[in-house]
């Protein structure tokens, strides 16, 4: 499968580059529209770059106006919506859930991988079986529960079900099977308590899996949409995806504003991805490993 001839290799690059451009074009379009001068947002044919960049040089006399117009979408967004609030809500909920999941799933995964106790297999298979059940099945019962517990329109309604997700238990268990039991026994012989063994031996060894689980949890919670849109009604409590949906409902045709909102929501995930790319890749390939 090695390509030796350089014409083939050039063709490969061309095909890949063209496809990559097509793939990234919509994302580019978010930012390009967000920064487009309002007069050019709707033009035939569409302007491929924010025209402010050009006009800045061709119309030096009105530069400050051009800068203002370029960022007017963000200006309007920050001025007339709760976007910072939504941003904060999404951020803190994602962090709380991620930290919680890391604790809970590492402990549970450790017990399932390294402890031999009655009921272990039953619990493990119960967890795996529920992973096969699509989330839509539990929407209605969860909704009724949340209502009965008085959690409707609170962030608890998001945090508690998110903390219950079991994919991480499965992932941590699979990873911890590869930790040699001798290390744990050695710690025990040295007189370390159960908790100390866990905290000083197991957790450091599980760091790569923790990084992967943390990143995927953060991403899923940050992007989650279906459940938040069901349980949140109060604009102050919205997360970013829910806020964006209502923004769109209220400004169906104001694309500069909509794309400014989309850009604000997209940037954090893009940065997280760039910083932790290798963990994303590792995480995906762990998911494919068969038991």
């Amino acid at each position: 499968m090695r390509i030796k001839h350089s014409p083939t290799r050039w063709l490969t690059y061309v095909v890949l580059l063209v496809w990559a451009v097509i793939s990234l074009l919509p994302l580019y379009w978010v930012f390009s529209t967000a920064l487009q001068l309002p007069d050019y947002v709707e033009s035939e044919p569409p302007k491929m770059i924010p025209m402010g960049i050009i006009e800045y040089f061709t119309h030096p006399e009105s530069r400050s106006q051009i800068v203002t117009d370029t960022f007017s979408g963000f200006q309007q967004l920050f001025h007339s919506t709760n976007i910072w609030r939504w941003f904060f809500n999404s951020g803190y909920i994602s962090i709380v859930v991620t930290v919680g999941i890391l604790f809970l799933d590492t402990m549970a995964g450790y017990a399932l991988a390294k402890k031999d106790f009655p009921g272990r297999n039953l619990i493990f298979w119960l967890i795996v079986a529920t992973m096969m059940v699509p989330g839509q099945i539990t929407l209605v019962p969860l909704f009724i529960m949340v209502q009965k517990f008085g959690l409707m329109n609170t962030h608890w309604a998001l945090i508690l079900p998110d903390l219950s997700m079991v994919f991480g238990v499965f992932l941590m268990r699979q990873y911890m099977l590869s930790i040699p039991s001798d290390l744990l026994d050695a710690a025990k012989i040295d007189g370390a308590s159960e908790w100390k063994t866990f905290w000083t031996v197991v957790v450091p060894l599980a760091k790569p899996a923790l990084a992967t689980l943390g990143i995927f949890t953060f991403m899923n919670v940050w992007n989650s949409f279906l459940w938040p849109i069901i349980v949140l009604n109060d604009a102050d409590l919205y997360t970013l995806p829910v806020g964006l949906k209502t923004l769109q409902d209220q400004n169906l045709a104001i694309f500069k504003l909509l794309m400014s909102g989309a850009a604000v929501a997209a940037v954090p995930m893009i940065l997280v991805f760039m910083a932790f790319q290798r963990y994303f890749i590792k995480g995906l390939t762990v998911g494919g490993v068969k038991e």
Partner: protein, 317 residues
């Protein structure tokens, strides 16, 4: 495991109670000895039981009930009968099937094709394209759907502009019953299958080089080597990805809600958008649960069918 067993049987031998009680007490003793394990497991297990296990069981109960705030009534199979008779459910099912049958194979094939092209590149090329194709996957579907609604704009959208360059017809994609579903399908196919590419690349990296060398000595050309060695050895990955893609496309929802709302008419109503509307717009909780269960069963059947197809195919080869 050997030492706890030894102690246990030693203790058992001393006990003079009846066998059944004795077994139970030794089980309890074993559980007590492993109490740390239960403590480690407990917090997650409580949450899991409360927010996953009970809701799943409850969904199956609800599907046989007419839900009311002041008490529910058993109605037997009535909800499932309504599902079977419903014109709307059938068209949602049909839309979902069309969407699935087109997008799933294309997503997997595109992932395979792109991974095949990326794999022989050097380290730098690999990580560049891997990143470029994965980036849209980390972006929220809400954002992607919002921008695609703009891309599909009838007059000013990027998509029709591209079509017009090639002299192709430029319909009002999202506002016509005949094109709306296709617009959603095209969009899913053009979003790069980032997960698939990364998993295929990982799997390709683990195929031993000697296989290709041996085939080369036997005179196999590049395509033959790919078709006879790479593709068959990637079968587990293909199976896994098809399964993922299948589950994803049966649950397609976010882009429906943001781009078409299921319309025009019900032209893009899918199973999950229907469940959502039945539950949270019409407040028909029993019926919505029945719909969700039917969706689950259909997904399961498709999953089993494609598992069987791909594996039977694997054995024939």
């Amino acid at each position: 495991m050997s030492s706890p067993h030894a102690t246990k049987s030693h203790l058992d031998a001393q006990a003079t109670t009846q066998p059944a009680t004795r077994r139970r007490s030794s089980l309890l003793r074993e559980m007590w000895k492993q109490r740390a394990a239960y403590l480690f497991l407990m917090p997650k297990l409580i949450l899991f039981t409360a927010f996953i296990l009970i809701p799943i069981i409850w969904a199956f109960v609800l599907a046989f009930q007419e839900y009311g705030v002041f008490g529910s009534e058993w109605v037997g199979l009535k909800n499932f009968e309504s599902v079977a008779k419903s014109e709307l459910f059938r068209s949602a099912l049909w839309n979902t099937l069309q969407y699935t049958v087109v997008t799933v194979p294309l997503q997997v094939l595109i992932a395979l094709g792109l991974a095949t092209l990326i794999h022989p590149l050097g380290r730098l090329g690999q990580s560049f394209f891997r990143g470029a194709f994965y980036l849209p996957t980390v972006t929220s579907m809400v954002i992607i759907a919002m921008v695609w609604r703009w891309v599909y704009n009838y007059r000013y959208g990027l998509f029709n502009y591209m079509l017009s360059i090639f002299g192709l017809p430029t319909p009002d994609w999202l506002n016509q019953s005949s094109t709306a579903l296709w617009a959603l399908i095209i969009m899913s196919v053009l979003i790069p299958p980032g997960v698939g590419i990364i998993m295929y690349l990982a799997a390709m990296g683990s195929i031993p080089e000697q296989l290709y060398e041996a085939a080369e000595i036997d005179g196999a050309n590049g395509f033959q080597r790919w078709w006879r060695i790479t593709v068959p050895l990637l079968k587990p990955t293909t199976l896994y990805l098809t399964m993922l893609s299948l589950i994803g496309s049966f649950q397609v929802f976010t882009q429906i809600l943001l781009m078409t709302g299921g319309g025009p008419g019900h032209a893009t109503e899918t199973l999950v958008s229907l469940v959502y509307k039945t539950a949270f717009r019409d407040l028909e909780f029993g019926l919505a649960s029945a719909q969700a269960i039917v969706l689950f069963v259909i997904t399961l059947l498709f999953g089993i069918a494609q598992y069987w197809l791909l594996y039977r195919k694997a054995e024939e080869d």
